[in-house]
Symmetry: C2
Amino acid sequence: MTEADFLDGYDPNAFPRPSVAVDLVLMTVKEGRLAALLQQRPNHPHKGDWALPGGFVGIEESLDDAAKRLMTTKAGLDEGWIEQLYSFGEPNRDPRMRVISVAYFALLPAAKFNATLAQRPDLVLAPLEVPWAGEVGGQVLALAETARPRILAFDHAEILGLAVKRLRGKLDYSKIGFALLPERFTLGELQGVHEAILGTEFNKPAFRRRMLDRGWIAGTGERQSGAAFRPAELYHLISKERT
Amino acid sequence: MTEADFLDGYDPNAFPRPSVAVDLVLMTVKEGRLAALLQQRPNHPHKGDWALPGGFVGIEESLDDAAKRLMTTKAGLDEGWIEQLYSFGEPNRDPRMRVISVAYFALLPAAKFNATLAQRPDLVLAPLEVPWAGEVGGQVLALAETARPRILAFDHAEILGLAVKRLRGKLDYSKIGFALLPERFTLGELQGVHEAILGTEFNKPAFRRRMLDRGWIAGTGERQSGAAFRPAELYHLISKERT
DNA sequence: CAATAAATATCTATTTGACATATAACCATA
DNA sequence: TATGGTTATATGTCAAATAGATATTTATTG
């Protein structure tokens, strides 16, 4: 069945159609580690395994709208950086029926997850194994050793891996990293986010210079309080416009 | 309709499903300009306008397989660099019915298009308008002034624009550019491809150095023939493994 | 040998990494 | 209350690596 056939008079309604779903990779950096929100499956298939939150796309609903709706209804979260990741369409990725899944990923500061996690025992923020970004041939990512159980349902390990890969790829040239920080943040916190995502350590003066020279952030004049040493200045993102 | 609902016993078969299509952005660099393969639509809607080749995904067929099949049956092309681009799902993007389209883009050397173009008068290689990559706020791309007609069907202008954006973004750090060159190529040809895609000019010695230091290509010892000046050495890509 | 573009060499400017030093807060102790 | 120790922020300096610009040499055709 091709588009030309369709245009020449075939009726596409006569052909079976797949279901289309959206799966969400909701990520944050918590305690210096990259983590993703997972839901324990209450039913078959893959009962008891961890899975990405997701759901079907409404027949009159855009993909973006479906992703935003599911973020609210399935995870109790909103706002943050959200973007489409990739579409997964292997015929047997779901044993029940043909489901094509459009994966989205969203980034939020760790604090935004607290209320949801307190109310929903089926949800966890699973820390991710993030080897050095430059490692050759290394597995991009799996659930960390500390996550139990470590099995992901369907092809969700592949989706999660691609999400981390994309996040790493965009971290340096886009403003994506700021979505993991509160409105006002210190340069040390910003560096911590970058180090957690890439699995590397950076030279502090060079990192500061690079971030400031970019012209995206500016100091607020205010300082962090409560620390037993020199307080860090709080910075803010000048414009949230996506680059 | 959410996945949880489904798991709790709802029957997703009772809900209407969208059609899922694949659209192809087949690009090349011809005569120093980036160009894409377009098909003139023979029927409504958008009759006479240019459109990306595409077709529906089979119910037992993966998205990747559908893209490869359509490349053969709709454009008479195969091999080359192909990858998924993005999924488009606005409810009214097709006036006839709900169609979610997974866009793929593929890159081939200009010579590979010759046979197909000679046989298929409905297909054209339309040159694209490519402003300087660093331009702020500029339209990413439209059909060049020389392309007639300049109107693209459906949301295909958006798809084409995103394809060029992605190509530009990956050109520097991936091996994507080599897909537009024959097996053996000169450094001048490689530079020409980069300049056509990014819409900039590069310093020749610096470009050579950068490409050679990367370690992806090696000289063959053979030289280009026929030129009325010093013949350029032919290089080849050492490994086609994607980075 | 004239013309042309490839290929190389050289110099400068910019960027980046590494290290040292100064600064500002808290805290323990006198 | 005063003082010095502790700690991470913040800044300055130097060396190394990278990138851009220009000039020179090389190889081929006509």
